[in-house]
Symmetry: C2
């Protein structure tokens, strides 16, 4: 039986015999009784198995090393006065496979850096059990949120001939070593996608509501705790809606996924709270229950100016219309000023992408960033430019290759009435919800500059 089921139903099995397999997490031998702590991966909880020298299989089991696989046959003893709710009094133990002595994950604490070097093993630790089970649940919660509302899941292409958005930061995909792309597999230069948004937008014109959820790539030479060369993005797009409705969808999605893991993964969240971020569950509860605030970029600038005038010191104190807000500014706004999740809307057009809808003031676009306490930007979204001429002008002003994107721009000619969407970096969400502070620790096998293990 799975340990997950045993932990759910141990009371039903009180004084009964059960059978299960598990990996040895620790093994302590005493004079009278010995203790095996086992886990089978289905639950964050370990089970303690108590045995004496009379147990069947003693001769072999007494030498079981950490990480060995053991089959247990024994009685469930409910232990209301001990930290664990029950233990197993072994009747028979089979050492199914003995691990070598040099198993790299012994009981002692390991540094995150060391664990990254054994990424194929680190998911066996409780920290990574928690992180990667939460990652899995979050992925499912996202699918569930959109599927239950009739969104169509679109697999945007990973290999793209469309370099427009990735200018300079896209990996090339090739079968050659000489850069002769005309003779290459696709007969032209191919790159790894940096975003599925533009392809997704064309599908929103067909299905009304779509979302992508797939890997994206950036060949950016940044060695920070928040950048990876390979990461997953969720990019929903909804036809016939404006920026305001887009904010409502973002808000309900964020609350839905938080609520989902609070209902389904409380053990993992508690472990993360204890080991990764103090106050994690209270933080998530607040976000789930908050009414997200909305303010304009211009209001933010004014607020920040006042803060500077009153003596607050930012690393970048040069606050004016046009300033690209840094994480320090975003955190000040949502942590100090609004004390909760906040949408900043209507950014200056010059610091945002070509496809965002120009507002009537001729200087801002209908863009929104959702900023949250503790991490800053979590979701970026916008209403899209629906006017073909304006869109082309923005492409030209910003040096976007019009020929490459004619298929995208032309969507505006074929019947187009509003469209809006957003992008959520999945790893950023996982970091926010687990409290992990390094993106390398929420990706199974992370890829960063000069780092390609496994």
């Amino acid at each position: 039986m799975d340990l997950k089921d045993l932990f759910l139903n141990y009371q039903k099995h009180e004084s009964q015999n059960v059978t299960f397999l598990g990996r040895v997490r620790s093994h302590r031998q005493g004079k009278a009784v010995s203790f095996l702590v086992l886990n089978d991966g289905t639950s964050l909880n370990d089970v303690q198995v108590v045995y004496k020298s009379e147990v069947e299989g003693f001769d072999k089991i007494k030498d079981a090393r950490v990480s060995s696989i053991v089959e247990v046959y024994g009685e469930v003893i409910v232990t209301p006065r001990k930290p664990q709710p029950f233990e197993i009094q072994a009747k028979k133990l089979v050492l199914l496979d003995q691990a070598v002595e040099e198993y790299p994950l012994q009981k002692k604490e390991h540094s995150p850096e060391f664990l990254r070097e054994i990424a194929h093993l680190r998911a066996r630790t409780k920290t990574f059990q928690s992180i990667f089970r939460l990652r899995s649940s979050l992925a499912y919660a996202i699918h569930k949120f959109f599927q239950e509302q009739n969104y169509v899941y679109v697999n945007a292409p990973i290999i793209t001939g469309n370099d427009a958005e990735g200018a300079g930061e896209a990996f090339v995909v090739t079968t050659r070593e000489d850069g002769n792309y005309e003779e290459d597999f696709f007969g032209k230069k191919a790159s790894l996608s940096v975003s599925g948004q533009l392809h997704g937008e064309s599908y929103a014109q067909a299905f009304n509501k779509i979302y992508t959820f797939g890997p994206t790539f950036r060949a950016e030479d940044s060695n920070t705790s928040r950048h990876a060369a390979e990461f997953w993005m969720i990019e929903p797009e909804i036809a016939f809606i404006d920026l305001q409705k887009n904010l409502e969808i973002i808000e309900s999605m964020v609350k839905f996924v938080i609520n989902y893991v609070m209902e389904n993964n409380l053990d993992e969240l508690k472990f993360c709270e204890k080991n990764l971020e103090f106050g994690l569950i209270e933080k998530l509860t607040k976000v789930r229950d908050a009414k997200f605030q909305v303010c304009t970029y211009e209001e933010v600038i004014n607020t920040l100016k006042i803060a500077v005038d009153e003596g607050h010191v930012f690393e970048n104190n040069d606050i004016k219309f046009g300033t690209d807000l840094g994480s320090e500014h975003e955190k000040y706004i949502c942590e100090v000023v609004y004390k909760g999740p906040t949408f900043i809307i209507n950014y200056p057009k010059d610091i945002k992408a070509f496809y965002m809808k120009q507002n009537d003031d001729n200087k801002t676009v209908a863009a929104s960033d959702l900023i949250v306490p503790g991490i800053g930007e979590l979701v970026g979204g916008s209403q899209r430019e629906d006017d073909f001429e304006k869109l082309i002008r923005r492409c030209k002003d910003m040096g976007v290759n019009i020929e490459e994107l004619d298929w995208y721009n032309n969507l505006r000619k074929y019947g187009y009435y509003k469209s809006a969407g957003f992008g959520l970096g999945f790893e950023r969400l996982v970091m926010y919800i687990t409290g992990a502070s390094n993106i390398r620790d929420v990706i199974s096998f992370p890829r960063t500059p000069n780092n390609l293990l496994f």
Copy 2:
């Protein structure tokens, strides 16, 4: 309101006024009354809007072209004697955006080849509405099947330094044009993954039950209706189980996803049946309700030999132990002999991968292919070799780079007791369930040799 909701609830809205937006699919003007057929993408069903010259907005709406966006305000008239269950008697019509005359998707029939060239628009046709909504539902059904059984969803890496499986067929990922990989982004040669299985296996040792679901790539120069350079795979892996249990999981997964779309997407399936594959729903019903058969490769060889002796002609008539079964053989076995889904197990080791568990007969491995009527192989799986020495010997025999894979092979040293899993090509599943005969028609933006549009 969404047209999907309107179709579900039109009776509740009888004789009431409703408002919705839609794209013009056709527009027919008569002397007394005119007809707009609209769709908003949320439903496969079109709604017919009837209007007279007195309708508010007539002057503009009378010129609405195909693909324009229209806002409708009108009364729901239930029409039990007409093909459609209801129509809308318009009170007010607003032409929100007029499409150009040169819209490529006019009402006439288009060839699949032409539609592939306008992949950004083809999802607006009913055929591709059906295919891509089914694709989306199937993806969700797969997540649902595994998540509800406590599997952990693992995002195996896409960029890999691990060339072992893809020998010669992997795309290179680079930021250079000279093949100097030591100076490249990762400091070594990087490829696009051809399979997430090996990485997934290491996670099954941590979580017991995992599945991957992500894109994989093959730089194979085949221009067939069943090959694409970019496709999605589902690769579950379960620790502590053998081949037999693996077959049970495959069988229940296939039945679950078929049942899911039959319950949730019957409209789309009916459309596919009418337009893509005669008898589709009966085919799927039979698979859902069948008991999958199991036979050994050796039994298959004997059966095929007898068929040849009795005069059956295969393209490859040279049937002996060691023959790599072709699609023609697989179809004969499941369509003529077993008349239903059939697992073929215990293949000769020389035609299967290095990681499959060697059987005691020393000539076969614990592999299984699920073959189904109409398409042949749908799922391939195996129990993995758990003996470190045997695994290394197979690597050497088959020319697999042991150094590159030491992390994978070493899993056998760290406590390892049985593991099995399988691979399901997602596009093959979508083709099977929609009846689409070309893989290019079940991928939003397909990638094949010399073909990289969008």
